[in-house]
Each structure stands twice: as C-alpha cells, then as structure tokens.
C-alpha cells in the first residue's frame, strides 16, 4: 500500500503577509504627471497585499503543494475524464505567437491560428459525425446553452417556438443539462430511467408531445452504460418533431466506436478539457465546442472559421445565427492544445483511447465490486468509460457512507470518485479511471478501497474521522455556509474580528 502525506504549510492569507511599502512590481519611470478630476478618483485604496515578488512566489508555491492534480496521482472522478495532460500541449502554447495575439488583428497576421482553428473544427466534426462546428463555447455548460438556444431558433423558424417549450432530460443527466435547458427558456421534463439504468422508452414516448422541443442525452449514460436503444430513441424524438442533443461529457469511450451523429444526434457539445486532454486548471479554463447537422448549421454563433483556398477567415455574415454567446472566438489557447493532441493521437491513438478507457473501467469495476459492502448495480451490463458503485450495503451494515469512504481514500493518495451522483443510485460512487492510468495504479486503488472496507466492518468510528493525511482534516462544511459564520472575503473576516 502506498503511503501519502500531503504538504501542510498553515500558510497565512497573502494579505496577512503584507508589510507597508513592499512591492512586487517594477514599471518604467513615469515622465509626465496627469491631473484627474477629483470626483473621478477612488476615495479608499483597495486593500491589496504589499509584498515582494519572493513572498508571492513562496506563498503560491506552498499553496500549489497543498493541491492534488492529475500529475499527483490517480484521479478517477466520474464524468470528469481526468486523464493525463501531455506536457507538449502546455509547451506549445507558451509562446507570444498565441499569447500575444489580439483577437481583432488583421486577418493577414493571424493565418496560422485561423488555420489551426479551422482544421480543428474539421477534425471535431469528423470525430462526432456531424457537419459543422463552432469553437466558441468556453465550457460544456456554455455549449449546452448555445445548443439549446439553437433548438429554439430552429423551432422559431418553423413557426413552432411558442408551442415547443419543453426539453426532456433523463433523471440520470448531469446537472448542467436541466440548468442549461432552463437558461435557454425551456421547461424541463424529467423522465425516469428503466430497470436497466437506461432511458425508459415507454416513459419517453408518453412525455413526447407537440410541445416537445427535444431531448438532451449523454451516451454512454452517467452509469457508463451504452443506451443500446439509441436508434429507436432518436427515431421517436424526431418523429415527434424534436431534436436530439448530445452531452459530450461522456465522449471518451466513443472515439472511433460510435459517433453521436451516427446515433441520430443533431447537436453535440464536446468537452475539450475532458476528451482532448487539455488541463482543467482547478475548474477552468476549459472549452466546449458544439457540432451540428447540416440543417442546423445556419444557426451557429457568429463568427465561424472558414477557408477560401489558402486563406482562412472569420465569417460574420450569418443572418440566421443565434448571435453571440461570449466575446471573441473561443478559448484559443485551449483549442490549440486540443489540435496538437488530436495530431499526436491520430485515428489509431484515439481508438486506443476508447479501447483502454473501457478496458480499464471494466477491470476496475470487476475488482471493486468484489469488495465487501460495495455493489455494482446492473451487473450484467457492459460498462464503457465509467461505472457507478453503490455503497448502500456498507452504509446499512456499518454506518460508513460513500462520503466517509471517499474521505478515507484521500489518506491513501487517491482522489475519490464523484459521490452521490447520479441521483438514481443510493450511496453512489461514480468512477472513471480513464485510459491514462496503469494497471498497477488501479490495483493500488483496489487495495485502498479494500482496506477502507475492512476498517468499515471492524472499526467504523476510526474511519469517520478521515482524512488524516491530507493538508487539512475533515472540513466543517456547515460552518462554511452558515450565514453567521460564512467568510467570503478577507475584508468581512477582519471587520468581524
């Protein structure tokens, strides 16, 4: 068993390191003082730290050491596809040839980046089996919002907008699906899963009506099970006049195996920071391009990246477009990384990604489901990129919940699974190893789960005060969100003291 001890610096807030007169910057000397009308000036300077560059570097380096990333170890957070981020990608973008490009530069000076964006769009369209791509969404949820807005525009053009105001979402969907649907102005109709964890076609049929705008679905679903009835699902939704939206969070296992376009989806978003190995940055920046069928092309956000012979350009002349969903053209620095990743992997490498991500998930599912107190619902089904374990038996028998178990895993240097999601499984632990972990790392994880299970059945109380080896012990979450004790800034904090 691996031992793990995360750094703990007890690092003060950077403002507590402040000492009057210290600076961490240097600027060219000022030549001419400028007079500003007093009324425009700030009365109170912002309370920012006065610290030297040395102190800033040490402070943030220490904080980084109190943070766990994919480079630290296994990170099987379900539906997040925390795969290894090849280092070349970060090197390639650390150049002024991308960092110091202004988005409004003359077309002639940005041919290199435009060609990269164009070719990436083409590759992504090929990978998902659809016609045209917009690279603009900054994240998956942003892509969902753009996609749902395209649905509205499509129904509006058909004179159906008022009528078609319902978007159907399964109860196992990612939380962003219903949130994005609502944000785009739809009523959300939730349908239950059937006894095999898949879309209940009967329930789907009975929820379809002339008010249906479409269905949002991820396939494989959040249980990691492929919706084998997808062709029929697509048919009934289309027959009812609705569109199919594909949540690309679970695309990893489908690369070269099942293109969403071939499954019958009309709109797809792609989580670049999941499937295409760009780093997630502690929560972002990501990138969430969308791809659509030929019929929906004209609705894509402006501008699109186009090619005319050897020249690449941004096309703003798109009268049916839904308009803008953000400033400028997309998270270019992330997209360049994805371009390089796809080049490196090629068709063979991407198929290998699908193969091994599925092999790893099935291997780990088999091993973990043999551990006392853990169960794999729908055991006869194949899994794709991920699977969901239930710790309900353990919770019932020992009082040790999925949350307790997760916290104990931290002590072994393992990032815990996504817990309590999807909502349809009790004490859910959603596990996605990805293709980039080794068998040995998975075996170590199995040992850690196994040890935690032994503890649960022998000495459950001891397990409940985990973690002990992380930077801090179990956090008081209730205090954190309580109106009387909540601290969201250092000013509030010091005013209270």
């Amino acid at each position: 068993m691996m031992t793990f001890r995360q750094a703990h610096w007890d690092e003060p807030l950077i403002i507590e390191r402040s000492s009057e007169g210290r600076v961490g910057f240097s600027l060219p000397s000022l030549e001419a003082p400028v007079d500003i009308p007093r009324a425009l000036l700030r009365n109170r300077p912002p309370r920012l730290p006065e610290v030297s560059e040395t102190e800033v570097i040490r402070h943030y380096l220490r904080l980084s050491q109190e943070n766990y990333g994919v480079d630290s170890g296994i990170y099987p957070l379900g539906s997040c596809t925390m795969k290894y981020n090849p280092k070349l990608l970060d090197r390639l973008t650390a150049t002024h040839k991308i960092q110091d490009l202004h988005p409004l530069q003359d077309n002639g000076s940005v041919q290199g980046i435009l060609r990269i964006l164009y070719e990436l769009s083409e590759s992504l369209a090929e990978i998902v089996g659809l016609n045209k791509v917009s690279l603009q969404p900054a994240a998956g949820a942003h892509g969902e919002f753009a996609g749902a807005t395209i649905m509205r525009a499509y129904h509006r053009e058909n004179g159906d907008e008022e009528k078609r105001d319902e978007l159907i979402v399964p109860d196992s969907a990612h939380g962003t699906n219903p949130a994005s649907a609502a944000m785009a102005g739809f009523k959300v109709v939730e349908i239950p899963s059937n006894s095999t964890g898949c879309v209940d076609i009967g329930a789907l049929r009975s929820s379809l009506s002339p008010r249906t705008a479409g269905l949002m679905l991820t396939n494989p679903n959040t249980l990691g099970i492929f919706e084998a009835d997808i062709v029929e699902i697509a048919e009934v939704v289309h027959e009812a006049g609705g569109l199919l939206y594909y949540d690309g969070a679970n695309l990893n296992a489908m690369l070269g195996k099942a293109k969403p376009g071939r499954m019958g989806f009309d709109i797809v978003h792609i989580n670049i920071h999941k499937t295409f190995a760009t780093p997630h940055g502690g929560g972002g920046p990501g990138s969430g391009p969308i791809a659509v069928t030929k019929e929906l092309e004209r609705f894509l956000p402006v501008p699109t990246v186009e090619r005319d012979g050897d020249r690449y350009y941004l096309d703003f002349d798109r009268p049916s477009s839904i308009g803008k969903i953000r400033s400028f053209w997309g998270n270019a620095a992330i997209l360049v990384r994805a371009y390089a990743y796809i080049l490196m992997m090629g068709r063979d490498g991407l198929e290998e990604v699908a193969d091994i991500s599925v092999l790893n998930a099935n291997y780990l599912a088999k091993k973990l489901s043999q551990i006392r107190g853990l169960e794999l619902p729908f055991p006869d089904k194949l899994r794709k990129h991920e699977f969901v374990l239930s710790a309900a038996k353990m919770a019932h028998e020992t009082g040790v919940t999925a949350a307790h178990l997760s916290k104990r895993l931290l002590d072994f240097g393992i990032h815990p699974p996504t817990v309590y999601f999807p909502l349809i499984i009790k004490e859910a632990m959603m596990i996605e190893p990805t293709e980039t972990v080794s068998k040995q790392e998975m075996d170590e994880a199995v040992n850690a789960f196994s040890k935690a299970s032994d503890e649960a059945y022998s000495n459950p109380e001891r397990l409940k005060d985990a973690p002990r080896n992380a930077a801090v012990t179990r956090i008081d979450e209730a205090r954190a969100s309580h109106p009387r004790t909540m601290e969201l800034t250092w000013r509030r904090m010091t005013e209270r003291q």
């Binding site: 990333g69 489908m254 068998k439 973690p467 992380a470 930077a471």
Partner: protein
C-alpha cells in the same frame, strides 16, 4: 498498433492480455458489443495516423510562426482584450502542475491550495470593485453582463434592462442572447454627443417600474468616464432598479470603484490582470455584488473560509452550493460549472505583486502614455482626438472625417508600415463618422507612439 502508447500505459500488449483475462473476455472489442452494428461500422475515424512528439511540435510551431503577434508588430487594438505586461512570476505560478492539472475542488481536504488562492482572488476582486462579495469567476465580461441582467430580473421580477448607447458589440450581442430566453428587453439610453455622459432626460424617459437594472461602464467602451455615475445610480434606485457597473479592473487602482459609485452589481474583464490575450480566450469574467439578498442569487462558484471540524486549522471549501446546477438543476442561478479558475489564480498572483501602489502607478503610467498619444495625434491636420470631451483611460476615439480618409484605409496603410491601427467604429456607430478606437497601455513606448504619428502623417501626405 504494435507499440504501446506513451500516455496509455495499459496499451502494452502483455498488460492488456492480463486485464482481459481478469475480466473474462477474449478481446477488447467484445466490450463494445452492445453498440449496434449499424452505428459501429459508420464510426471509423477518417483522420491521419498518430504522429510523434517531434513531428507534432514542428507542425504546430510552424503554423503558429505564421502569426504576427503584438510583439512582432506595434498594435493599438483594445476594445475587450488588452495587451498588458504579464509579470514572469505570474506565468510561473500558473504553470504549477498541481494547479493546472486539478479539477474543480469537490474534495476540499486535498484541494486547499486552489481553494485558498480562489478565496484570495474573491477578496481582491471585492476590494477592487468596492463590493462585498465576488464569485470565483465567470467566462468573460460579456457573459458576466448577461448573468448580471438575469440576476437583476430574478431579484426584482422586472424585465427591462437599460444599457448605454456606446457598448462593445460582442458584449451587446451576448447580452441579447442571454436576455432573450428570460424575456428581458434591452433598452438603449442616449449618451451626449459632446461629452458621452448619459442624457438624463432620456434616462428618465426610459426608466420605469419595469426597469430591472441600469447598466453603465466606467470607463466606457470608447474610453471616457461618465461624469456623474452616482447620479445615474440614484435615478436607478429611485425607481427600484438595480445599478450595475462594468469596469476595467486596472483603472480601479486610481479611479472610483463601482461600490463607491453606488453599484449593486459590478462586472468586468479580468484578462488584463496577469492573463495573456491568447487571441481572445480564455478570458476572465469578473462578477461582484453586495447584500445578502443578491448573494443568494449570484451565479457561479463561491469559496468560503472555515475551520476543520476539530477546529485545528483554518480551511477553505465551496459554499452556498445549493445555488448551483449540480444541486439545484433547472432551478440553479446559472448553468455554469467549468469556469476560469486558473485565470483567477493568475489574477490573484498579479494583484499580489502589484499591490495598491503598483496598480496606482500602472494607472498613472497608462494615463501618461495615452495623454502623450492624444497630444501627438492632435498635431495632425484634420484628425480629431478624442471625439468626446471627457477624462479618458487607456482608450480613446480618433476621428478621421477631417482628413477625407476612411478609418479602414488608414489601417490598411498603417499595416504596410508594420503598425496595427485601432478598431474601426463606423459600422457600429455611424454618427461617429470615420473613426477608430485606439488603446495605449504601459507596454507602448514613446517611440511606438511617435512611429504611429509619423506613419499617419505620411499617409495623410499621400492623399
């Protein structure tokens, strides 16, 4: 594929076989047998074969080398993304692999570093904006504005949002996309032709009991300040509307903060705070507000400081998650999940380095540089600069109507001399005639500005 893949350890044939034996299947393809054949056979990828790191590096570097960056040519573009100095220490901090390769800090005990950095970011943005709370980032200024309008409407159940006439086109169009599904109507308020200030009669005519919020920018898209922003806020509040200010965070080292001007919500673009322009993305959406009622309606992730359960140490964690999509689903305050966390860490590092003195000095440097540029450009016959009689910061409009040349002609001729001129304004604001928006920061030297002036002078002589 015979060889194993460098990022896929279990692609080694021996390992693969061993794992298949454990699962009890003969080949990997059997794990995909539940996918209908009709889909499988049409899903092969028509892409080139894999390439080595050597080949990919060469190919991508070659393509990128065809770009001319703002380090290769002198550029006066701003208007939503600005060239500012990014201290080396900031680049170093945001390159820490523990930060870069982590996910959203759902497991706070092993994510304290990211959480503390984001708490510090929230604290610093709240300070700059003069507001009580800031979230831990949105995508960019444009989407932050869209979220602000929707938040205002949720708070007071009204559906008209007042905006200034002079607003960046992407910001306006994004706002429209965000407002339309929520049934919020956007109403433009006139700005004085000479000074750029809100025309009070027009504001009073348009504001009503339907108005959910009044939005101004300080400084405006065209670089000038609203002379009496407080007054606009008072009028908004008299009618029960929220007052929302969009601000350039750099300007806040010297100029009045949204909080001091009476704003209820503040938004802005955080890219200038230690983040590169990156051809327009990623950007960093700043979002701040005041009051507990607004806090509960705030979009995006919030980090709070608390204690460990045993009280042994301070600790950080995500708070008020019941506003967010993963808990509240269709009733969430926003659909946002992935945000711009690493850019926020960069901003926190940047603001720590600059401190209050650095930011103030930076503002004065930018003011001195742009004042110099305005003074020099004024020497040119027929050139009007700026078009508005007001205090400007960083950006200013340059009118070419008196020269008989179009702004796009001037830009084309400047390009031939290795200079990227400002943003042409004619398409969006016809009343401004042939004009362009120029941006000058601390990166522009006197020589750069002199070269611009000499070049325009030569273009004028060519007429």
């Amino acid at each position: 594929m015979v060889e194993a893949h460098p990022f896929i350890p279990n692609s080694a044939p021996g390992t693969k076989e061993e794992m298949l034996r454990e699962i009890g299947v003969r080949e990997v393809q059997a794990l995909f047998s539940d996918i209908p054949e009709s889909i499988r056979k049409n899903s092969t990828l028509q892409l080139p074969a894999s390439k080595s790191e050597i080949e990919v590096r060469k190919q991508v570097e070659d393509l990128l080398s065809r770009n001319l960056s703002t380090k290769d040519i002198t550029s006066f573009l701003g208007g939503g993304a600005w060239p500012h100095h990014v201290p080396a220490a900031v680049d170093e901090i945001v390159s820490r692999s523990e930060f870069i390769t982590s996910y959203t800090p759902y497991q706070p005990e092993i994510s304290q570093g990211m959480l503390q950095a984001l708490f510090e970011y929230q604290s610093m943005i709240a300070e700059l904006m003069g507001m009580e709370f800031a979230n831990s980032s949105l995508y960019d200024w444009a989407t932050a504005l869209g979220e602000a309008a929707r938040m205002a409407s949720r708070v007071n159940s009204r559906d008209e949002f007042l905006i200034p006439h002079y607003i960046q086109p992407d910001r306006l169009r994004t706002l429209q996309t965000f407002c339309e599904p929520a049934g919020i109507r956007i109403v433009e308020v006139a700005q004085d032709k000479r000074t750029g200030v809100f025309v009070e009669e027009d504001l009073r005519r348009k504001i009503s009991s339907k108005t959910t919020g009044v939005y101004i920018e300080s400084p405006s898209y065209l670089g000038f300040f609203e002379n009496d922003a407080k007054r606009v806020g008072e009028i908004a509040h008299e009618k029960g509307a929220l007052f929302i200010i969009g601000a350039d965070p750099i300007s806040l080292g010297l100029f009045a903060s949204p909080g001091e001007l009476g704003a209820d919500i503040a938004v802005g673009e955080g890219q200038p705070l230690g983040n590169h322009m990156n051809y327009g993305g990623p950007m960093l959406g700043l979002f701040a507000c005041r009051g507990d009622q607004l806090l509960r309606q705030m979009p995006g992730r919030l980090i709070g400081m608390t204690l460990t359960r045993d009280g042994s140490s301070k600790a950080f964690t995500m708070v008020l998650q019941t506003r967010e999509q993963h808990i509240r689903r269709e009733k969430a305050t926003s659909n946002i999940c992935t945000n711009e966390a690493l850019c926020a860490v960069g901003a926190a590092a940047y603001l720590s380095l600059m401190g209050p003195r650095g930011l103030e000095k930076l503002c004065k440097t930018i003011l001195a540089n742009s004042a110099y540029a305005i003074r020099r450009l004024k020497e040119l016959d027929g050139v009007t600069v700026p078009l508005f009689e007001a205090q400007h910061f960083k950006e200013f409009s340059v009118g070419f109507d008196g020269t008989g040349l179009t702004a796009s002609h001037v830009n084309a001729k400047l390009l031939q001399r290795g200079i990227q001129g400002g943003i042409c304004l004619h398409d969006q604001f016809r009343e401004l005639g042939e004009s362009a928006l120029y941006s000058v920061t601390e990166l522009h030297t006197r020589e750069d500005i002199d070269r611009l002036v000499t070049a325009i002078e030569a273009i004028l002589e060519e007429r």
